[in-house]
């Protein structure tokens, strides 16, 4: 994330500035869709040679056109916009993640490319222009027709299927980014000593450990 973007994020996310600052720093270090490497250029996770070869082959390819990437970016930020808690899909690098994952999972390529095209053609028919040239209101008028599977019109079914896919890929990319992990509040992935469910949580649910569990299960001080 560049400095300008960071400043914008801070301005918007006053409530959670600390989190966002930290997240932005990480996001800058760990670019989405790119294998993370340490300062010495070494891949940070264990890879065997076949995996490295496949990765190098994938990143040498480009799948989406610049127009398609622009559309993915707009859609991603409609699905996951910045709010009081965290940044947006594009803040978290979701478009780059989607570019990578469709190369990694080729079965996603036709549904994504075709779905984007379906959206463009539908927008052209209804608004007489491309999606990116629409106003925000016009964009949402289109999206509202495909974002709600149970009330969408039957003729919009393909658009619904595409938007479900786009929503799921956006969630995958966002909630696995530093910003998204902080947003969802996952507390683990660090050394810990498990002494059971916290007392206040047990009380909240009216649960208690049995005497035998308290006596025989491991406790750490």
């Amino acid at each position: 994330m560049d400095r300008r973007q960071s400043l914008k994020t801070i301005a918007v996310g006053a409530l959670a500035t600390g989190v966002l600052l930290e997240s932005c720093k990480d996001a800058g270090d760990k670019q989405a869709g790119v294998q993370s490497k340490d300062d010495k250029g070494k891949i940070t996770i264990d890879r065997h040679p076949d995996e490295v070869a496949r990765y190098n082959k994938l990143i040498a390819e480009t799948f989406f056109t610049p127009d398609e990437m622009a559309l993915i970016t707009i859609l991603g930020d409609i699905i996951i916009p910045r709010d009081e808690v965290s940044g947006s899909a594009s803040d978290a690098g979701v478009p780059d993640f989607i570019e990578f994952i469709v190369k990694d999972k080729p079965e996603l390529q036709v549904p994504m490319r075709g779905g984007l095209r379906w959206l463009e053609v539908t927008t052209l028919k209804q608004k007489g222009k491309s999606f990116k040239d629409c106003t925000e209101t016009e964009r949402l008028e289109i999206i509202d027709q495909i974002a709600y599977p149970e009330k969408a019109k039957p003729e919009m079914a393909q658009g619904v299927a595409f938007f479900n896919l786009m929503r799921n890929l956006t969630a995958s990319g966002f909630y696995t980014s530093p910003i998204g992990v902080a947003d969802i509040g996952y507390q683990g992935n660090k050394p810990n000593k498990w002494n059971g469910v916290p007392d206040d949580v047990l009380q909240q649910y009216g649960l208690a450990y049995t005497e035998r569990e308290l006596k025989e299960c491991v406790t750490y001080t």
């Binding site: 996770i45 507390q187 498990w194």
Partner: protein
């Protein structure tokens, strides 16, 4: 290709072991510590979780955010190399049959990522034919293997609780961890419908047992192999590393076994292999040869070890090698627990697996299938990875979010609220049960196919019977009862029926392959005697899942380890007595 030469390793070993997983690792550990010179050949590269680290990595350190690949079918951070589909190493099927074959290619094999579920077989599990007339009895009983389970508990470490159950024997257990929140709900629900829930039995160190290995750090990532403390059981960390420290063990990696070599007296003399790096042919010689390449791979090696003396392959005068192939049965179901919506966040990673499980409880009930199954559970606030939040459109219209009824699907700030609200409310369960070993389920050498090293490949012929299908039906009915009793809403696994064998996993899919080199007292109906020693070739042994006569409703690793320890001590004794 230049002219092919066979290079002979100059060193004569006491034992040559093929494979470095649970069985091979244990054999190497016992023999090397007894002062014998040992050589392991392993088809994959070397591996140590301290240098090959995926533990404590964040989801964004994988460009695919932890999604699986054919190189890592259990996800991009999983410790196990290879899987269902290995380039240049095919296998085939007889039409209309199914066997999915998972192959690890690395030091330590599948033990680097397994579930650490470490269950002893019970007294009945060795004598099933005497009880229900199906399959065969083992040539040994629980009393023969119990001392080795005891030693194993102390050597490797396993947590659990002594429950006094007849066919789920007590052990020498470390203290188990307390249940997680969703596990308390599971326990309540299961008990309501008469399914017992007890602490899991996992080979993870809740307390240290020696200087070399530390205590669990509760990251829930045993499938990534423990780099911090070696606190989980992996053959590479717990057996091979200390065996190598004796200086009595050589490990040859990237070495794909071709066949067992024999001499004019019909004794095994060593193993020939292809080095995957230089593609040259090698031989390594030993006083005994121990196969531990996985049940199917060991059968393949034996069937490919043909000679004038052994025209059906080595140790196969009976014709049983490759037959009686079986796996565990498996079926699963899951849902969400509305009580957990909007739950408080805290670190509940716990150990790498469930803190509870249900041993088979219905042995005395009248059922329409033989044997039984145990239940494994999951759920809670896991680390986000690829697939996170998938299918939210089928959830967020169904339940009010923070009191507000919404239209399914959607986008924007409201959608972000939904992801937060539903996170950590998922629960699921799977049955792992006993498939009956029958002669008509087998692997054999495909006469028409070789792998890229020119080694003839396996062709599978496996079908589930009504026994397994009815067991899956019973699993599904039970899971539904448990989920309903705990107040969960089922979201998957409840649409199964006769049309899809009640969701029964394809044979091989549970990755508990066994039975292909089975033990027995009758050399006409078994390949190995009660010491896992070939009836025909006395210095040849097999110590993986191959020797199993039946599967039990338990995961097989703990018994592979105990049997391998027992066989290895027998080899040491026999060598002392100069019988080998």
């Amino acid at each position: 290709m230049g002219s092919l030469q066979v290079k002979k390793n100059a060193k004569q070993y006491d034992a040559v072991i093929v494979g470095s997983g649970a069985g091979g690792g244990m054999a190497a550990y016992v023999l090397a510590n007894a002062g014998l010179s040992v050589c392991i050949i392993e088809a994959g590269p070397t591996y140590d979780p301290r240098t090959n680290v995926t533990q404590f990595k964040n989801p964004w350190e994988s460009p695919r955010r932890g999604a699986s690949t054919k190189f890592r079918p259990f996800g991009d951070f999983d410790a196990c190399y290879c899987g269902w589909d290995i380039d240049g190493e095919p296998y085939t099927h007889i039409s209309g049959t199914k066997w999915d074959w998972f192959r690890a290619r690395m030091l330590g094999g599948r033990t680097n990522h397994w579930g650490r579920i470490s269950l002893r077989f019970g007294p009945k599990d060795f004598k099933r034919r005497s009880i229900d007339g199906l399959g065969d009895d083992w040539p040994i009983g629980y009393e023969d293997i119990k001392p080795y389970y005891d030693k194993l508990d102390r050597l490797v470490g396993v947590f659990g609780s002594n429950e006094g159950l007849e066919n789920d024997p007590d052990g020498i257990f470390l203290p188990p961890p307390r249940p997680r929140l969703h596990e308390l709900f599971i326990k309540k629900g299961a008990q309501k419908v008469g399914v017992p829930v007890i602490p899991s039995r996992l080979s993870i160190l809740t307390k240290p047992i020696n200087e070399e290995r530390g205590e669990c750090i509760y990251c829930g990532q045993c499938n990534r192999a423990c780099s911090v403390a070696y606190a989980d059981f992996s053959s590479s960390s717990v057996l091979i590393r200390p065996a190598a420290n004796t200086k009595n063990l050589d490990v040859i990696v990237n070495a794909m076994a071709r066949e067992v070599l024999t001499n004019n007296e019909g004794l095994a003399t060593g193993v020939s292999y292809v080095n995957k790096e230089d593609l040259q042919e090698y031989q390594v010689m030993g006083r005994v040869v121990i196969l531990a390449a996985s049940a199917c791979e060991s059968a393949r090696i034996l069937l490919n070890s043909k000679s004038a003396r052994y025209p059906n392959g080595l140790a196969n005068g009976s014709g049983v090698v490759g037959k009686y192939l079986h796996d565990s049965t498996g079926a699963d179901m899951g849902g969400i627990l509305p009580q957990l919506f909007g739950r408080k966040r805290y670190n509940e990673d716990g150990v790498g697996g469930a803190h509870i499980y249900s041993p088979w409880w219905a042995a005395d009930k009248k059922l329409d299938f033989p044997r039984g199954y145990h239940i494994e559970y999951w759920g809670g606030m896991g680390m986000p990875s690829y697939g996170f939040g998938g299918g939210i459109e089928s959830l967020n219209g169904r339940f009010p979010v923070n009191g507000v009824k919404k239209e399914a699907g959607g986008y924007g700030k409201s959608l972000k609220e939904d992801y937060r609200y539903f996170y950590g409310a998922g629960v699921g369960m799977a049955g792992r049960g006993e498939m009956i070993a029958v002669e008509t389920n087998y692997c054999e050498i495909d006469p028409n196919a070789v792998d890229k090293y020119g080694i003839p490949v396996l062709r599978f012929h496996v079908k589930h019977s009504d026994y397994e299908i009815k067991q899956a039906k019973h699993m599904k009915e039970t899971f539904k009862e448990i989920l309903t009793a705990m107040g969960a809403i089922i979201t998957y696994g409840d649409k199964d029926g006769p049309h899809n064998n009640w969701g029964l996993a394809a044979p091989g899919r549970i990755i508990h392959e066994a039975g292909t080199v089975r033990m027995g007292n009758d050399p006409r109906r078994s390949a190995l005697n009660k010491w896992c020693q070939s009836h025909e070739c006395k210095n040849l042994f097999c110590v993986d899942g191959g020797p199993f006569v039946s599967q039990a409703d338990k995961n097989i690793t703990w018994t592979i380890l105990a049997l391998s320890m027992r066989t290895s001590e027998y080899i040491v004794d026999e060598m002392k007595k100069r019988n080998l």
